[in-house]
Each structure stands twice: as structure tokens, then as C-alpha cells.
Amino acid sequence: MNQGFVSVRSVSKTYRSDSSTVGALCEVSLEIEKGEFVRLSGPSGSGKTTLLNLVAALDRPDQGEIFVAGTDVGRLSGSRASKYRAEQVGMVFQSYNLIPQLTALENVLLPMIALGHTNRDRARELLDLVGLTDRSNHNPSQLSGGEQQRVAIARALANDPALLLADEPTGNLDEQSAERVMRLLTSAVRERGSTLLLATHARETAEMADKCLELRGGVAISVRQMSCSDDLRSSR
């Protein structure tokens, strides 16, 4: 069987509490080639975040397998999962998850520190890339939502990951900021040849994606290869 860069095979995930059981994903499969931009869509609670968490090895599937670059990330130990994230994954969260007591520059440095190297010049370059050179010494509380998300994007790109996972990165932003963040994300991915898995409600991102996966109630109801993808690939 031909295996993509990211291969999600019949993955199921159920969350159990004392009183209830919620099926978050049910037999979801997805193949993503290296450099592809895949858009995950669906209503709230459809399983988008769960799928991203599983691909990032932040959670484990109950059933099925997830391979990233040939590694079954669903079976990694805690420390191996951390190493995998530090080396191969950049994550952008809806709620930014910046460390509030660190400056923007220091937040961008964190993934590098995790890998044992601190390159302040590269961190400044990344902040420059997201247009925040002059805000590098500001704490997250001194930045707007859009600026915080741009810092989060710079942090996600810190170790030049092969896979970028973005979980509704524009969900908390106004239209203008959202547009800028999306532009940044897509251009960063295109320029670096990274793979992007983006969970979003925003319809306009569909035009930029190579592939769209729609989830409803944890079930993949459609996987579409977008018509624009050929144009986008040719522009790379």
C-alpha cells in the first residue's frame, strides 16, 4: 500500500467520563503527501481538534494507526513523542498557548531550547517574517490577539518542521488579522515545502487548500482533492 507523508488509517477515538462516552472520531482515514495543504472542516465537536492532537502525538488513538514520515506516532512514549514534536511538528493553537511571562522572542526560542540549541538570530528572523520585529521584547499580554497568533506561528516554524498543524488559528481573530495569519501560514508552508494540516471554519481557506476533509460527528463525510491544487502546486 502506498503510504503518504501523513497516513491516518481507520483511526477512532472515544472520550469517556464517569457519566458519558463521546465518540470523537470514528474510522477516519486520510493520506497526505509531503508539501500538501489539507483543510479540515466541520462543525464544532466534529473531531477536527482530536485528529490534530492525534497526529501531533498529544493524544493516542483507541483504534487505528497514524504514521508520520513512516513512524507510528500513536505508539510513541511520552519522551519520544516530545522529540517527534520538537523535530517534525509545529503547532498553532486557537488560544495561542504562549507562555505569558516570556517575551515574544523567548516564546519563539522555546522549541529550539527543547532541541538543545538556542538561535536568537533565527528567532528574530522568524519574528521579522511575521512582522513583529519591533515587538520581540513584548510579553503576550502586551500584544493583540492577531499579534499573539503571529508569535505562535513563528514559534511553530522555529525548528523548521516538516509538518505544521494549525487548530482554528483564526478562530479568535478579527477578519483583517485572520486574513494576515492565514497568508502567513500558507506562504510559510509553501516557501518551506512543509505539510500543513489546518482545522478551520473559514470557507475562504478552501480555495488555498490542496485537499479538504470534512468531518461530522467524528466521521469523515468527504475527502476532496481541490481543483485549485494543480495551480497552487505549479506556483510552488
Binding site: 498529544l58 516530545s82 523535530e87 507562555i99
Partner: protein, 419 residues
């Protein structure tokens, strides 16, 4: 710098709670330290009591535990050699009663020694030199102490030596029971003497401590020499050392039974008095341990609860570190360091405060008066207890966070609470 900020920065309103937790822990540590210092002081007092009281020792004394031989103070009459005081203790009977417990024999004599034209009263003690040295305190100024094979040799105190005009190497005569003189050669001079179970001082004689009511001077000879002087092996007094202190009451009963027909022989022990001290120690230990435990539990729980709130709020931050690629162990390092610095800093402060503020001597409540005043002491046990309190408070507060971060999926912690 980043690690400093990750560990100690960004507490916001929780900073007040961290300070409060630190203060509560410091006060707890001070209270517990003060209580434990009293307990340790009481323990030291008890150890001293064991050393001083020797509850394992039983004294067997004849009514007048000194065989006195009168010599006329003037004229040319021959000295009288009549043992004035009876009865005396039969060593064979004593050893039989003592069983396999150690018997320390003594003969205590009182002699008039001729020095030039006058007489001098001198106490002469026949002792088992090897054993007696461990029981009583002899501090040599010059020369050496008695050894088992020494005969007609004596060690005497400075006051007696001065009165007799002798020094190491010199000698003086002592009248024996048969009317002849025994020359005793001085081999050592004592500058301090603490004779265990010393007889009362009833006659004027040179003394190291003139105001003392017990004999604090004398010439010490091996018991074989004193038997030669006395003319018999009967003992004036003896010590019986119980194998274990707890066996003392049984030993006392056996000795009393053995000498029940000898109204002039008394068996005395310090075990009962020691037991009262032990009881006082137990009361002290129970009281102050209860105070320590109650304080540690109540205040420690409160501090742990405050710390738990802080850690709960930081949980998402630690999870973020793990999410961006830090190993789980490293992700929680800031939490552990923060807790250790706060907790250990607080208990060190509390311990130092207790050391500074606790009185140098602590008088026991009246019910515990037998132990007497104790000196509160800070030692490794107190220090370890304080360390244990800090570590317990940190463990209790940090435990749920560590368990969640290490056992639960990182995703669950990332979606919890506010950043």
C-alpha cells in the same frame, strides 16, 4: 533567564497565594521546629539522666558503710584496731544473690595516719580498679591510675596528698587490723573525683570539695590491698550492675530477699526515679509531638492547598512546554524547582526563627517536673523533619499536576483552564 522566568515569573494574582503559602509553611516550620527542639532537649536530658543516674546500678550498703578503726589521738598507747561498725556484707552471699549480674566490690575504711607529730584522718577505698573507673569519675593530675596487679599502691586526691606531704613515688604508712603498718606507695594524684555512691562525709578530713556532704577525697587502693589492711574480705558496700536496666527491679527484689535477715544492709536503686523521668519524657514527647503533628497537618494542608491552586493554574503552561517539544520530565522541572525553593526557603526561615526565639532552657509543666528543665536543641532530626514537611507539602500540592501531566494526554491539559 528563560528558565528563571518559567520557574518564578508570571504568577500574577497567584503571587500573593505563593507568599501566603510560604508564610504559612514558615510559621508551621517554626512551630514544629520549636516543639521538636523541646522533644530533642528532653531526649538529651533523658540521655544525661541515664548516664548520671545509671538506672542499671543497685547499691548495697551496710548501715555504716565505712569500717572505722580508732587510733588514740595522743599519748603512747597502741592503736585500737577494733572494727567499730558492723554488720558488713558477705561477698559470697552477695555474688550468689546477684547471679550473673556484675558485682563491683568496695571496702571503705577510715584511718588515722601518722604524719610527723600529728594524726590525719584519711578515707581509704578498696576498689576493683578496672570496673570502678567506668562507673566513677577519676581525673588524674599526675602519675597513673591503679591497675589490677598493683599491690600496696595508691592513687589519692590532691587535698589528701598535700595534707600527707606526699607526691607520686612517695609513700605513707597505714595501720593494719593486726596492728602492723602497711606502706602505701603513691602512683597517681587526682585533681577531680566523682565517686558513684560516695559515702556521707561524717568526719573531718582533707577534701577536694570542703562543702560537700559526701566524701570527695581519699586514697584508692586495689581491693586486695584493702583486704590486707582490713584483715577480712567483708565488704562495706558494693554496686551490682544489672545486665539490662529493665531487669533492675527483679535484681533489687532478689538482693532484698537475700539480705532480708540483715537489718543493717540496705539495697537502694535509682531505677524508680529514672522511670519517673522516662514517664515525663514520654509525656513531653507525646505533648509536643501532638502539637507538631497537628500543626504540620493543619497548616501544611492549608499551604499545600494554596500551592495546589498555583500549580493547577500553571498546568496548562507546563503542558505547553511538553507540546512544543520538551520531554515530560523537563516540562515539570519549573514546577518542582519552584516548589522546592518556596518550601525549603520557608522551612529554613521557620527553623532559623525557632532557633532564635525558643528560650535556651525550657521548664517542663509541673506534672513533668521530674525531668527538670530541658535545653531545646536543634539537630539533624529537627532539620530532617522540617525538610520532610516542605517536601510533603510540595508533593501533595504538586502530585495531581504531575500525575495529570505524565499520565493524561497532553491534549487534555492544553485544553484545561485559562492560559
Amino acid at each position: 533567564m528563560i528558565w528563571m522566568k518559567l520557574t518564578f515569573g508570571g504568577f500574577g494574582r497567584r503571587f500573593v497565594e505563593a507568599i501566603a503559602a510560604g508564610i504559612v509553611l514558615a510559621v508551621t516550620a517554626a512551630t514544629v521546629a520549636a516543639s521538636l527542639m523541646v522533644v530533642e532537649g528532653a531526649r538529651n536530658t533523658l540521655t544525661r539522666a541515664v548516664r548520671q543516674d545509671r538506672p542499671d546500678l543497685v547499691e548495697v550498703k551496710s548501715r555504716f558503710n565505712r569500717a572505722l578503726f580508732e587510733t588514740p589521738r595522743s599519748g603512747n598507747l597502741p592503736p585500737l584496731t577494733i572494727p567499730v561498725y558492723e554488720p558488713l556484707i558477705d561477698p559470697a552471699e552477695l555474688e550468689a544473690a546477684a547471679g550473673d549480674n556484675q558485682v563491683v566490690k568496695r571496702q571503705s575504711l577510715f584511718r588515722n595516719v601518722v604524719t610527723g607529730d600529728s594524726f590525719l584522718n584519711i578515707y581509704i577505698f578498696g576498689i576493683d580498679s578496672d570496673v570502678e573507673r567506668d562507673l566513677s569519675g577519676f581525673s588524674l593530675a599526675r602519675g597513673r591510675f591503679l591497675e589490677k596487679e598493683d599491690r600496696a599502691a595508691t592513687v589519692l586526691d590532691q587535698a589528701s596528698a598535700r595534707a600527707l606531704g606526699v607526691d607520686v613515688g612517695g609513700s605513707f604508712p597505714v595501720r593494719k587490723a593486726d596492728g602492723t603498718d602497711q606502706q602505701l606507695t603513691v602512683i597517681g594524684i587526682l585533681d577531680k573525683l566523682e565517686l558513684r555512691g560516695a559515702p556521707p562525709r561524717t568526719a573531718e578530713a582533707p577534701s577536694l570539695r570542703p562543702a560537700s556532704t559526701v566524701v570527695s577525697s581519699g586514697a584508692f587502693v586495689n581491693i586486695q590491698t584493702s583486704e590486707d589492711i582490713f584483715g577480712r574480705d567483708s565488704l562495706t558496700d558494693a554496686l551490682v550492675v544489672a545486665k539490662y536496666a529493665s531487669e533492675t527491679p527483679a535484681l533489687v527484689a532478689k538482693l532484698q530477699e537475700a539480705f532480708r535477715l540483715e537489718p543493717g544492709i540496705f539495697v537502694t536503686e535509682r531505677y524508680t526515679q529514672y522511670q519517673r523521668k522516662v514517664r515525663d519524657f514520654d509525656l513531653t514527647l507525646a505533648l509536643f509531638s501532638a502539637v507538631s503533628i497537628a500543626t504540620a497537618l493543619l497548616a501544611g494542608s492549608f499551604a499545600a492547598n494554596l500551592l495546589h491552586d498555583i500549580y493547577f493554574e500553571r498546568r496548562r503552561q507546563y503542558a505547553t512546554l511538553i507540546a512544543v517539544g520538551f520531554p515530560p520530565g523537563m516540562g515539570i522541572v519549573p514546577a518542582i524547582i519552584f516548589g522546592l525553593v518556596l518550601g525549603l526557603g520557608a522551612v529554613v526561615t521557620g527553623g532559623l526563627a525557632a532557633r532564635a526565639l525558643v528560650p535556651r532552657t525550657f521548664a517542663m509543666p509541673s506534672l513533668m517536673a521530674d525531668l527538670g528543665p530541658t535545653e531545646p536543641t536543634i539537630d539533624w532530626l529537627v532539620a530532617s523533619s522540617l525538610g520532610a514537611i516542605a517536601i510533603a507539602a510540595i508533593s501533595v500540592s504538586l502530585g495531581p499536576t504531575i500525575v495529570r501531566l505524565l499520565r493524561e494526554p497532553v491534549a487534555a491539559n492544553l485544553s484545561e483552564g485559562s492560559p
